[in-house]
Amino acid sequence: MPTDHQDLFPGALEMMILQTLRLGPLHGYALVQAIKRASDDLVRVEEGSLYPALQRMLKAGWLTAEWGLSARNRRVRVYQLTREGRRQLERKRTGFERLTAGIMKVLRTVEP
């Protein structure tokens, strides 16, 4: 299911990026591929959404970026999670779980 970020709820893209980077530093393309794999191809992050989101997170101090080399030995910018980024991930995850739990309760409501 190719998905545009507009179909995600606000903050979902950031949460997925933070979660993916918690497993280790990645560059932009690798990040897209990792999310795609992790979601069993259900979520495809568009580059037009990815790079502005990365800049927002850099600006917020959740990530840092360093130039490095890709597996193909290509010069790429590698993003890494900061401590603030981890805290932010926890906050977002908690908030998301409560939200989904609430939504699920609403969906399971049986009409009298």
Binding site: H27, G28, E47, Y51, S70, R72
Partner: protein
């Protein structure tokens, strides 16, 4: 590299982000190739998946900056690149706009000081000038208390100005002194720089008289010494004491350095009978003795609900009542006051026509320069349409392209404003010696601030207008047309039509300016050829005053003149109260019922011989001719219908008649008779009595006048006189012609500027047509048309533009020149010679501008073009 926002980081940011995104794309391509896809297909697919790289970069950058600022920065970046990439276009536009802006700002500052705000006086439109009030037909007597009854002004004050001797710190020099009545400073509402203004009690004391001096005099004569207050001075024979210093921003009355409290007012009269018994002169008793009177006026601050018109009506009613009562008893008739004007209007009136004509001409030059810049910029937009297509295909939006185009022009306008400020400063500095005498305001530092501000604002305004013309062309292209070039031709044609219109506007402006130059030239010639009635060549004029308050009899002066003749320094010499062209003359009414106006001069022996004034009948004055009069031919004709007036008795004033002993040629006191309608109608009295404070001598020089000037001046000083002024009459004539000469030079310069821009515009338009129609011309020639016929087509195009501009320009020139009718002399605003001359000059320049591009067609390599 630190990953932080910083000033001027955009370039580095874009570079890094683009590199990062390209790496992303390449990684994707490699993955697809590894999956078995051909590389070309992989590249295409990767790009399609990625989308518009530039837009992603822009969205990313906007995280760090304000969207508006970022877009503005981007537009500015492209605008700077656009200007740099088309430097010849924008550089030329900048030069033309800069020159016109500097010129316009200079003229604006001058017009502001002379016409728009001629004096920095609070509520200047509530101050009225009441000229001629209180003056009588027969004498200079005035009745201040009588006019004080007026209720439409409160207060009503007066001042008389002139040159008087000021002794301070053991040094005596002639200064410009004004005697002002109580309430003067209340009317002009000024505050002292130091000390105080004149108070009511100052007008009660004859001596020591309270005086206020200008800041300039304080610096010049007292070295800015704070102890100046209370310092004893002698002004015009009166002991005085300095009580205050006025700021240099006070420029009314003009050139005055010393303000003295006028003598105490007589009691306020309630009836004309009482006033008639005590007719009062401002100078006596206890007034300042001026060596030369230069002017004066009655001023009033309008009472609530009053206007200049109501003041005029009230003053005329008062004059009528005074005349009805006083004239039967004294024979003195009171003239009604001349039109009452606001002070601003009165100050601006003498220079309004010339200044406004210059202002309008400069505005035309500015519009011409704007049209020229618009032509260049529109041409540049048309030439760059391929460049716009590329940018649109790379993701630039229509709005961004438009913003960059507008900014290009705005940037050019702003730079032109700055360049104009430089031009304005240079022009102003060069013209300062001519300008400052016109208004003291032009010599003040704030002028520079005004000049630069006007330049920058004008430049920005022109930039916006020029940008609008570019946007006008750009707006005719749709997004699709921008991207594909399809259907572009209609937009290009509209752009070319606009450009042709701008070229016609330039030719029209040039037509207007060249016609004005023609009228100015013919005016100058007419003025220079005006018969003067006397021979100015080889005549030296010297004006002097006797030192102190002593007057000498005329005998020593006559002896001096005889001595100068005996020493062969002069072949003829004379004395007079004033000289033609050099001095403004007094007017009197003479003849039956005293209704014929005439200029009055009092002249010594040999006056007519020295100035070469021809006799048409009768003789010169002789001994014992105290009650004789010599008149001019014009006056004789006006009085008796013939120039044979010798032996007639002439009524002068209400009480005396004199016998006409001679009739002489009419001499001119002014070259333009409209300034003095009675000019040429003269009345000469024989010199009698002592030489008072002010007189003039004229000498016919057998050798160059400059050579004998020092000797004459030392002889006058030996006699006890101070030379106030000396000059040759030829130079005086030159000075009289100076305004017309300045107008001619300015009009000529503006006309030349207009001609150059119009010729350049025609050349550009014809060159573009040649470039666009070369292929068509080639086909025509290949089909048998002669190169000459094709060239003729191009020439006809150039001349058609020229003719259209001439017709439009002539249509505007007539009404505009009619507004400046008062500046023309001996020529009408519709003068066919000026119009035909301007048209001929423009047609010639149009032909010259078209011949070059048309000739290019003859050099076409037909074979090479056809093979393309």
């Amino acid at each position: 590299m630190t990953w932080r926002p910083r000033i001027f980081w955009r370039r580095a940011f874009d570079r890094d982000l683009t590199a990062e995104m390209r790496a992303h794309l390449e990684e994707r391509v490699e993955d697809l190739v590894d999956a078995g896809m051909p590389r070309a297909e992989a590249v295409r697919r990767a790009r399609a998946e990625f989308g518009n790289l530039m837009r992603h970069a822009e969205d990313s950058r906007e995280v760090w900056t304000s969207r508006t600022l970022d877009r503005l920065g981007g537009a500015l970046y492209h605008a700077v690149r656009g200007v740099r990439g088309n430097f010849s276009t924008f550089g030329t536009a900048l030069a033309v706009l800069g020159l016109a802006t500097g010129l316009f700002a200079t003229v604006f500052v001058v017009a502001d000081a002379l016409v728009f705000r001629p004096a920095r006086i609070q509520d200047i439109d509530r101050v009225v000038v009441i000229s001629g009030l209180g003056e009588t037909i027969d004498s200079g007597w005035s009745t201040p208390a009588w006019w004080g009854q007026a209720r439409s002004v409160d207060p009503l004050v007066r001042w008389h100005g002139g040159q008087a001797q000021l002794t301070a710190r053991d040094e005596t020099r002639v200064e410009d002194v004004a005697s002002v009545s109580r309430g003067f400073f209340e009317v002009i509402r000024t505050a002292p720089l130091h000390g105080r203004l004149l108070r009511d009690e100052d007008f009660q004391n004859i001596e020591p008289r309270a005086i206020v001096i200008s800041e300039r005099l304080w610096q010049r004569r007292f070295g800015g010494d704070p102890d100046t207050f209370g310092a004893p001075v002698v002004v015009g024979g009166l002991r005085g004491v300095v009580v205050g210093i006025l700021p240099s921003t006070l420029t009314y009355p003009r050139d005055i350095s010393v303000w003295v409290a006028a003598p105490p007012d007589p009691p306020r009269y309630s009836s004309a009978d009482k006033a008639a018994e005590d007719l009062h002169d401002l100078e006596a008793p206890g007034g300042v003795q001026h060596v030369r009177r230069t002017g004066g006026a009655w001023l009033g601050r309008l009472a609530a609900g009053q206007s200049a018109g109501t003041v005029e009506a009230e003053m005329q009613a008062l004059a009528k009542r005074l005349t009805e009562t006083v004239t039967p008893k004294t024979g003195i008739r009171y003239a009604g006051s001349t039109p009452v004007r606001t002070l601003g209007d009165a100050l601006a009136r003498p220079v309004r026509a010339a200044t406004m004509a210059l202002f309008v001409a400069t505005a035309v030059v500015l519009l011409l320069a704007l049209a020229n810049a618009c032509t260049l910029i529109v041409g540049s937009v048309l030439e760059r349409r391929h460049q716009f297509s590329v940018r649109v295909s790379l993701g630039a939006t229509r709005g961004r392209l438009a913003a960059a185009l507008a900014l290009e022009s705005l940037l050019t306008g702003a730079l032109a404003g700055l360049a104009g400020a430089g031009v304005g400063v240079v022009i102003f500095q060069l013209a300062e010696p001519l300008l400052v005498p016109l208004s003291p305001l032009l010599g003040q530092p704030r002028v520079w601030i005004e000049l630069v501000s006007v330049c920058v604002l004008t430049g920005a305004g022109l930039g916006l207008l020029a940008g609008s013309s570019a946007l006008l062309v750009f707006s005719t292209w749709s997004d699709w047309q921008l991207l594909t070039h399809r259907g572009h031709d209609a937009g290009v044609r509209r752009g070319r039509r606009l450009r042709t219109g701008l070229v016609i506007a330039q030719v029209a402006s040039a037509m207007l300016l060249i016609t004005a130059a023609g009228v100015a030239a013919r005016t100058f010639v007419a003025l220079a050829q005006t018969p003067l009635g006397f021979e100015p060549t080889g005549v030296l004029a010297v004006r002097f005053s006797m030192r102190g308050s002593s007057a000498v009899s005329s005998a020593p002066v006559e002896v001096l003149l005889d001595e100068l003749i005996a020493r062969r320094l002069a072949s003829a010499a004379t004395i007079a109260d004033r000289l033609p062209l050099a001095d403004a003359g007094g007017m009197r009414y003479v003849g039956p019922s005293n209704t014929t106006p005439a200029s009055v001069m009092t002249v010594g022996p040999r006056f007519f011989e020295t100035l070469g004034i021809a006799f048409f009948g009768g003789r010169d004055f002789e001994q014992g001719d105290e009650n004789a009069v010599i008149i001019s031919r014009r006056l004789a004709t006006a009085l008796w219908g013939t120039s044979e007036a010798v032996g007639q008795r002439l009524e002068i004033g209400s009480a005396s008649t004199r016998e006409v002993v001679g009739v002489v040629d009419d001499i001119r006191s002014s070259l333009d008779e409209r300034a003095m309608p009675w000019d040429g109608s003269q009345l000469y009295f024989p010199w009698s009595g002592p030489v008072r404070t002010n007189a003039a001598i004229a000498l016919k020089c057998p050798q160059p006048c400059d050579a004998i000037m020092p000797a004459v001046m030392s002889e006058v000083e030996r006699l006890g006189g101070d030379v106030l002024w000396s000059n040759t009459m030829t130079s005086v004539l030159g000075t009289t012609l100076a305004p017309a000469r300045v107008r001619l030079i300015l009009a000529g310069a503006y006309g030349l500027f207009g001609l150059m821009l119009a010729a350049a515009a025609i050349y550009g338009a014809v060159r573009d047509v040649v470039a666009e129609r070369t292929r068509e011309a080639t086909v025509r020639m290949a089909l048998g048309a002669s190169p000459r016929a094709v060239q003729r087509l191009i020439l006809v195009y150039g001349l058609a533009i020229c003719f259209a501009g001439i017709v439009v320009g002539a249509a505007f020139a007539w009404p505009l020149l009619s507004l400046a009718r008062s500046l023309a002399f001996g020529v009408t605003p519709g003068d066919p010679v000026a119009y035909l001359g301007a048209a001929a000059v423009l047609i010639a320049s149009g032909v010259l501008a078209s011949v070059g591009p048309a000739a290019q067609l003859a050099r076409i390599d037909l074979r090479a073009l056809l093979s393309e």
